[in-house]
Subunit: 320 residues, 4 copies
């Protein structure tokens, strides 16, 4: 097959440039073309459950509404995320924001109460609101569990236990912000798995809450529910943004069915260190985490550039 | 200051080449020289607790004994690790091994029962032994907890709860392999924190065990113990190999004391995506996870090359 | 300033998603937004000469027509390129093509007469045509120079000397393919500088030709012409795709005017090795290769994805 | 084969840790072990010519004496380098130096007359000396060529032509600094090829000199001499530090013999862009630039760390 030279003009839609990428078919552009094609197929295929795995600063990086949109439109069946994205989604849900153009003097930023994530910033005021609000949520949820189990929340003889997924569902029901990923997921019954939830500002608040309250987060209960979803699926397609624990959790959960049927990953990590984050998706075949013959596409690039691009084009393909 | 050109000869010790790196003082060599200097200082400084954070395939990559040695020699006070390294440490503890030179045909590897991690391989036979053995450990530990709490392990009214750190300690006591990181850590009272433990083959076995047994892993209890360690430390130095959840957990735990006093990281990840794994250590200052004025050195490189090198040289420095 | 969360829908034009990137303004998306804005400005600004520097497999990677289009539309004033892109442009000019999906068994490819560049392929048949045709061009040009200088081409007492730029201009005039970068550049009087031209298949043919013919390529004459262009420019904007020798040549040529007034670079190389290819554009300010206060934007990404995207959006901006 | 866990102690020589790397045999450490083994073999093999290809800031980065040492000890037969390393070697030869720890404010550095290369610095004073001195060298050499050809150097009817390699040889003879790469190469009859020489501060001086003097650098004459060396070699081994034009030139020159017989590369560039700098050495087999069955090892890492390390260990191996 030939590489068709790309043609560019001033009136192009995203789908047009993706078509040019596919016609060329090689290097980065080729990968983007193929990932878009596969994403559209994954979403369109009725019997395929789509697992979206999210690591890295996607909410701070502007992708909050992209993920919410995917959920609202029924394009995601399962969300697997880092605790950080949960925290940042809540930050915005409680009226806070993410900021830009505050420079790179980290000591000055510290004095000004600003945290830096690359060239994105948070403000301590927003975190103060977050901390106040989230504790009221924890309180409501703890009381609700206790009530369900006829437990006295002040007693230490009995424990109020809840899985991470169910906990995030309850949080989602309490949020008012229509753009919140957690809210939209709860409303649309899209379960959120966050195996590393403890390791986030959210987790810090949770810990502080447990100093004085009776709440136990069951770290392994989610594996029951996630394996049920995998078992009940005819096919599973994974969309992996970044790497980390979410990527591993996403792929490993599919072990029980012999692996995912299709997968896309977008990463800037490299493969030579052997680290999973940069590992080619093909490696997952050796672990039965991707089926032999599965359609796998990796794009090397920044998620904030590549994913909105391929999702927008996939939306266009789906509508036709 | 000048860049001193490096001089190489055939009789060099590691400390000699590190000295040449330091005399040059620039680019990668300069970073390696500075990280070695800092590592030696961290270890030598009596009132500094050293936190070692480990992500990526370090046990499969040959660093198992390096970490054990650090623990035996009292050079690490706290270990924070991914679940994968726990799994791979246990694999070798139960008589298994890691392998090499089995090619890159992932579908053939799958048929042969081999899993690939870069150019490292595992065999399903070893995992079968691991699975049998680890269940006996889970069983012993569950019974032991139950006994402590006067609980009937078969009853579902009461729960046997244990933190991840304590659980890994108990596992460590049961291991016989003298080179096991878990065993050596337990024997030397070096706590192991693994916030993402559930997400590993070990976590999978744990989950399957809980289907039929009464065991609850408390995902947030460790934060009490880790914060106590931080509070009781005059100073904390972090050695961060790779990134991921362990890096975040390591740095975040030091928030309560205004941040680490020194840190070294070795990573191949880049900073432009904003992801924590590739973030410069300086960024942590904005979050009070590294103190203003703290000594921070990043080396861009493969951990399996850089860390043995700087630890060996640091050992030499310490002995003088 | 806030990070505005990006909104995606199925009818988006490229300019729409670039606007979303700019509204978010951070991480990779922010850089793409800013580079597009700057590219549009560079092209629109009447008194600014645009230097396009090209390294890496851009012609094999599908960008041949993108570059030709830029030249035809008067968006480039100077092209600085690697010898490889010249070679590959000629390959297609003589009826050849670039291919895809031939696998990664380099020994088999060698036997089949195919050369691999990532996942792009060339065929030896195309190179055979190229070799025959290019020699006829060399011959015509040599005779033409000789005639101009009243020289006897067979005599070794006198030398036929030509600069690389002028040589490529002459080649361009002989090409018939309307999409050829060399042809379009010659027709539009856009000079092509290729300081590393010798180091390419084209250079190999040139060398073999000089074994039997009297032709001398003056390697430094181009610096006169390029410095004249810089001197005569009110302002210079550089668009740097990839790095290498073209990047250095592009920036260094502007030394004489205190540096470029604006620059964009798209690269996957990193900065920590100190290598120019991955160096941040800001570093050029220390060398007076970029003016203090110049507008500089780097995008970390694959050129085949990023450049068509930002040029398409810039075309749209320019038309408004 | 097994991965042998590495053992570290305080008395290790470089050869000891390289042996540990080889015993482990995987990931980065495995590559370093293999590259060291291969380097020692390349140097020891009597009938193998070693081509060292150098790109990136190696002289500023402290490797000047490493390269000189290789030449003095007869471990390199051909040096292929960027113009930058020639410039920086001359800078030090004329009494200048490279500096460190001057910060990253590029505008301030510009005002202070300092150029930045990562975290390495140059001073304008040193460049002023370089400019004065190098012109005297150009003058001497031009007169010498003229004398050889019975030409009047002031006449423009006849041209004084010299190849880059011969020009660098002549420069080397005029240098006094015993540590100069150019001097040591000239004294030891190791030819230096620098196909991109024009593109450097040295090239800028050369150009300015030609404004007023009769000197023509023949850009393609070197290909005769380099191809003669390749033809006369029983075997060729390439050591490729960084990538760029030197890498291409080094590999391409071996086309005529079916490719190199062995090669090592150390790079931080990645392969997915298709750019040659990050391309795996295996790709060269498809182009007959590496022989089928040739021994090829790539190390992903910073040259200033990896190369002194493997050369020091190779020296030790050779001495046994």
């Amino acid at each position: 097959m030939n590489v068709n030279q790309m043609n560019i003009n001033e009136d192009m839609k995203i789908i047009d440039i993706i078509d040019e990428f596919s016609a060329s078919g090689v290097l980065g552009a080729g990968r983007v073309g193929r990932s878009c094609e596969l994403l559209a197929n994954m979403i369109s295929q009725d019997d395929m459950k789509v697992f979206l795995s999210v690591a890295g600063p996607l909410v701070p990086g502007g992708l909050r509404n992209v993920i919410s949109t995917m959920i609202k439109r029924g394009h995601i069946d399962v969300l697997i995320t880092s605790g950080a994205n949960i925290t940042h989604d809540l930050l915005e849900s409680f009226g806070g924001s993410h900021y830009r153009e505050y420079g790179f003097d980290d000591e000055k930023l510290n004095e000004a109460g600003m945290g830096r994530i690359g060239d994105v910033y948070t403000k301590s005021d927003d975190f103060e609101v977050f901390e106040k609000e989230i504790i009221t949520f924890f309180d409501k949820i703890t009381k609700s569990i206790a009530k369900k189990n006829f437990n006295d929340p002040k007693s230490c003889d009995k424990h109020n236990i809840i899985s991470i997924k169910d906990f995030l569902y309850e949080i989602g029901l309490l949020i008012e912000d229509e753009n919140s990923i957690l809210k939209v997921a709860a409303e649309n019954n899209v379960p959120i798995f966050a195996p590393g939830l403890i390791d986030s500002m959210f987790g810090l608040q949770l810990w502080m809450f447990t100093q004085e309250n009776n709440l136990v987060i069951d770290a392994i209960a989610d594996m029951h529910d996630l394996s049920d979803i995998v078992f009940d699926s005819d096919a599973v397609g994974a969309v992996i943004l970044g790497g980390g624990l979410p990527k591993h959790y996403c792929l490993a959960s599919n072990l029980l069915k012999g692996g995912v049927d299709a997968a896309i990953q977008i990463t800037m990590d490299r493969s030579e260190t052997g680290s999973l984050s940069g590992a080619p998706l093909e490696e997952a075949k050796s672990w039965s985490k991707a089926k032999c013959g599965s359609n796998l596409v990796s794009v090397i690039g920044d998620v904030t550039i590549i994913f909105p691009l391929i999702y927008a084009a996939a939306l266009n393909k789906i509508n036709k």
